[in-house]
Symmetry: C2
Subunit: 722 residues, 2 copies
């Protein structure tokens, strides 16, 4: 049951909403998702409460002290939820003990030494963490506030919360208005704390900025400026899910206490748009794709994502895919605003697996700065295949130089892979868990991505200020029928080289799994070296060409721009019909390409890594020289290898060859030859390369005696050859 000794109203929580969700949960006899989530939190928290409380001194990132201050705010947050929804006194007492201990010590702690661009706090080495601490501590204080003596309230507010507010708005006032993911934490933490301690002036600053104009700083400016028209966040999903947590916390508090702001309708419902943009970036396995600096494991179980789904459901209406997602997660964010979602989940009888639709998340205020494109297969009887292409903005300081990079996912795993960031987050013994040098020298470099590197250089010369002024331009994004496709240009990323990439996701009856066709077109007046990279995982099982292995020694492939980290394993000359097949987990993947006079280089990360910071990962590079060039390749997922049961079949794919029939400023025409049930077939694909043409334009291209005519961006035909 909820606590009953309520004497005053809450500052941030709506008491009636709390009672509603507690009543609803009770009516489910403890079998609903809310009760399940609460029970799980109670079990975890009660285990933690077996240990004595500790408020330590200061320590480095990753140290005991750092971790303890973090776990203390997590513990206060857990106790606040348990006290609000369960009412047991021990949780209140725990919060009070911790807050009094912090109030006693806080002002005696000196500031940390500044270690990065983030100003130092007293508890933590950077104020970002101190903001997070304040946000949770304020919410926890608010949960027990009305039960406290006047003296305890004074102690906590005067010696802890008010000094923190002052630090953030005065000492670090110059930083308070910065539009950035850290900035959302700053205004949310300070704003929530100010609501709790009744400091209306500071609340106003937190919402409207120091200048009070709602444009140069504060929450409204943050959410107006950080997100694109589609809701996509420029730094990518990893930082998006981190920013969305304080966004939801503060939006809920504003909704409750400053309804006149009408926060959920602000700027054409940007809160709702950005929530859905985040969730729809998630991979079929629930992880977020590692676009820009990112771990490979962050997923929709993150608190920010969970809070976002509850808020969306409560404030923007029901969504069956969110219901299914939360149902499969099994737990819900413990907030009164989760009531609608809990009811839907408890009543849900549909499929647990969620298939998000294809989506191009456009960037820029009006969608004018390219997009992140996501194609997803539709056949509900088969696992989701997904192709992501990055043709939007660079992503500021966390941006990777990966324009036109693709990531492919099929049958439960990412098989054309992103390395992610060069960082062991929170691992004390890996540079305190911070970004490592190798993040710059490898992870953010163009060659570390599934795109084309020109002349062994990095896009935009690894200049992120320059890169932030450049972006891709979408050409088409087609999602009708069983052949989906996207195409985009990136003409400003390499001097004198225009690039266009077109990716088709084909759900053909002839193939067990969707087939991906990739056309990467380069256009320059002068000759360049073009390196088409395939970052894979697993074991090479066959190639169509001979290669020479680096038997007794492996050398670094280059000296800079990421190449200095690659060790050459083997190298071979390609013929026109080039195949590489590899085995990742239980599936074979075949890459088939047309590659006359090319060279395939097999490589592995590990060179110039003096502190063993890099993961050991494999790739191969198709190197070709030319001015106007088209890379045309298929990616086929096939067969099965189940070592445990020793079953294996389908080690060869069906695609036999990919042939470039023509490529020009107008169009590319490519033939994919494949076998199906003993028959040789040909898939001919025509793709428009002309920016000025649209879905109504007619094309006619002659190749030898044959003329290919079609209307629209693409055309595909399948013929039987024998």
């Amino acid at each position: 049951m909820a606590r009953t000794n309520t004497t005053t109203t809450f500052a941030t929580f709506n008491e009636s909403a709390i009672n509603q969700i507690v009543d609803y949960s009770a009516k489910q006899n403890g079998t609903g998702i809310f009760a399940h989530s609460l029970n799980q939190l109670r079990a975890e928290t009660d285990a933690l409460l077996q240990e004595p409380l500790d408020v330590p001194g200061q320590g480095e990132a990753g140290s005991y002290e750092h971790n303890k201050h973090k776990s203390n705010y997590e513990l206060m947050d857990a106790c606040a939820k348990l006290y609000l929804f369960d009412g047991s006194q021990q949780y209140r007492d725990t919060i009070l003990s911790l807050l009094l201990a912090y109030a006693e010590r806080y002002l005696d702690m000196p500031f940390h030494e500044q270690k990065n661009t983030n100003p130092p706090g007293r508890l933590f080495h950077q104020i970002l963490n101190e903001h997070m601490w304040l946000c949770y501590a304020s919410l926890a204080y608010n949960a027990i506030q009305d039960s406290l003596s006047e003296a305890d309230q004074r102690t906590i507010e005067d010696r802890l919360f008010k000094p923190m507010i002052e630090m953030f708005t005065v000492l670090y006032g110059h930083d308070f208005d910065r539009i950035h993911n850290h900035g959302i934490w700053a205004v949310a933490a300070v704003g929530i704390c100010a609501i709790v301690v009744g400091d209306k002036e500071t609340v106003h600053k937190s919402i409207y900025g120091m200048a009070g104009d709602g444009e140069t700083g504060g929450f409204l400016a943050q959410i107006a400026q950080l997100f694109s028209a589609s809701g996509y966040y420029i730094e990518g999903p990893y930082y998006h899910r981190f920013a969305i947590r304080p966004l939801c916390f503060f939006a809920e508090a504003i909704h409750e206490h400053y309804p006149e702001v009408d926060i959920y309708n602000y700027k054409q419902q940007v809160v709702g748009r950005t929530i859905m943009a985040l969730i729809t970036t998630s991979n079929p396995d629930g992880t977020f794709p590692a676009l820009n600096d990112s771990s490979r494991t962050m997923n929709i179980d993150d608190e920010g994502a969970k809070a976002a789904m509850s808020v969306y459901f409560a404030r923007y209406g029901e969504d069956e895919k969110l219901t299914a997602t939360v149902k499969s997660q099994g737990t819900v964010w413990l907030s009164p605003c989760s009531l609608a979602l809990c009811k839907a989940v408890d009543a849900y009888q549909g499929e647990a697996s969620v298939r998000w639709a294809s989506v191009d998340l456009q960037e820029g205020d009006a969608g004018e700065r390219g997009a992140q494109g996501f194609l997803r297969s539709k056949n509900p009887a088969k696992p989701v295949s997904q192709a992501i292409m990055a043709y939007g903005q660079h992503g500021m300081g966390h941006g990777h130089f990966d324009a036109l990079g693709i990531i492919l996912f099929a049958d439960g795993h990412e098989y054309l892979r992103e390395y992610g960031y060069g960082r062991w987050v929170n691992v004390e013994t890996k540079f305190g868990g911070r970004y490592l040098d190798e993040n710059k020298t490898w992870a953010r470099q163009t060659i570390a991505h599934n795109t084309v590197t020109v002349d062994e250089l990095c896009q935009n010369n690894f200049d992120h200020q320059l890169a932030d002024t450049h972006f891709g331009r979408g050409h088409f994004f087609l999602t009708d029928g069983n052949i989906q496709a996207m195409s985009a240009f990136a003409n400003e990323h390499y001097d004198g080289v225009k690039m266009q990439r077109s990716v088709l996701l084909l759900e053909l009856d002839d193939f067990e799994q969707p087939l991906v066709l990739d056309l990467y077109k380069l256009d320059s007046d002068t000759e360049h070296q073009y390196d088409y990279a395939v970052h894979y995982k697993g074991q090479i099982t066959n190639t169509s060409f001979d290669y020479t292995s680096s038997l007794t020694e492996r050398k670094a492939l280059g000296k800079a721009n990421g190449y200095q980290h690659l060790l050459e394993k083997a190298r071979g000359k390609t013929t026109d019909k080039t195949v590489v097949t590899w085995l990742q987990d239980q599936r074979f993947h075949s890459w088939v390409t047309s590659a006359e006079q090319g060279e395939v280089i097999f490589a592995q990360t590990g060179a110039n890594d003096p502190s063993m910071n890099l993961r050991s990962e494999d790739c191969f590079i198709l190197r070709q020289t030319g001015s106007k060039h088209l890379f045309a390749a298929t990616y086929e997922t096939h067969g099965l290898f189940d070592e445990g049961s020793e079953r294996c079949f389908g080690a060869y794919g069906q695609v036999e060859a990919v042939t470039v029939l023509a490529h020009s400023d107008e169009a590319s025409i490519v033939k994919v030859s494949y076998k199906a049930a003993g028959t040789l077939k040909a898939l001919t694909v025509c793709v428009s390369n002309d920016e000025t043409k649209d879905q109504n334009s007619s094309h006619s291209v002659s190749v030898g005696n044959e003329t290919y005519s079609w209307t629209g961006y693409i055309n595909t035909t399948i013929t039987t050859e024998g």
Copy 2:
């Protein structure tokens, strides 16, 4: 329901037993494990039956034809079970169609070309597969036999089964008596088929051998000679679980039709002993440890292991650990002999997780040829830690040269790891799925294991005939209390170098997870290079010493004996207190050793691998030079790294140093210094090195002014140092 149109008795199946298990299952209203297993098989089989049947011609290992002949016998087996326990006519008809198709084609197929030492069959490239085919086909035929016309029976028996029997007992008669895991398949397949077709003479040969003496060949000789006194199988668990399948099939048939053989009491119940020996080798995650040639993924879900558990339960009595194991597996072997196990599983309310006790599986007829030792932690509140040491026999042609090699497992994963075999089983594009050259040049070599390689040579000079004459000798195996220990000698594996390894598994209150102490003693009159290898997976997070990385190129570490496959990544001089910590999945592992004047070499497989056959795996080697030397090291599992939730703690272990106080022919004395709750403590361990001493012997060793006195094999004391 079971089929009801029974007109004759079965040859191998007991009709009353079938009815009993069907009746029992019906009484459970379809909720029991038998019904669940049958339903699962039915769903899988019905899906397969949507495709047309096909009996193709001949093909290579891994080819469509090869796989189809295999899947055809699996399909017949599934149909036989469904027909017996379910009665539906379509399953009978499928078996009949397939058998008639095979009968029509079989004799027209020429023999394959011989590719290895195994003679070729008509369906498959080696008769092992043909035996397996015959075994399942005979059982399937038997299930429908009484429903067939006389003409169909004649066709199938005269054109298929009898010619196969003749092939195996006449054409390949010279091979029929070979004592080998393939030999069990031969006698079981032929014996079962002979029972089914009523050929008593061949049944006799299958049980008692061609000579009829029960000693030079046949099933009795096989099971008498293949298994050690403990039931351990010389080739290791991977081949053991493969041999135990026909063993169980034929034992059940003999039990039914030749009760006078009293098969389950034969040779002091060797069948029961060998079943339990197999199951008790399994890792805490159900996989079998990769001792000798083996995949790393084979596990107790294998049909042989499942059949074995049912047979044990039916013929040797109930066992709660088997009940729990099968409960957690969720399915049971579909055989009438599973009745007792099904009843126990359906009634079972206990823990699903199984903790096997520590066991040393002695080798040789009287346990005189060493053992495979398994120490397992006991604390039921914590995940199982396990230490395996190989100090038994070599293992014939599949043996690895790994005497005194250890494998460590903690908290859900193997962290001191076996490479397993050099093979991609059944992958057509990897040498037809057969053993690769790298199995010899890497996987079986001493340096590929967690043991000490002397002078960069392989034990027994990679001569398996020689190695089969050598074996380890157990010194002690202690499982009482919270400190378990094993020690063994291997004095014949390197000329002039005697070796002893002692491994302690310590469950101390001061540590979150069990601690492993490893003492590897080498004794020679002349100086040698001793390479102590640690095969790990994951990322190095810290070392106590500086190292120099191979920055721009990595070279092969040697020219032969496996060293030619290792690329050097880095190298550093060690001090007395040497620590290496690595992160595997969510756990840190620290190796702390005393290593004055040593060198640690970090290396990775990949050199001299022209066809990319090797997996890329990491190790480090502590290299020291000496004549009489003791390697003393602890392995500590600690902390947590959960990247998804970005939580990390405990990146440093508690052990600070390992110091060798003394080592001699009599004893080794080692001090482990560690921190616990802010206190520095010392664990002092004394271990007897004298083969002539036992648990009642007194020891007294002076070190400086201190005298260590104890009785028995080991002594441990913990003192507080400050």
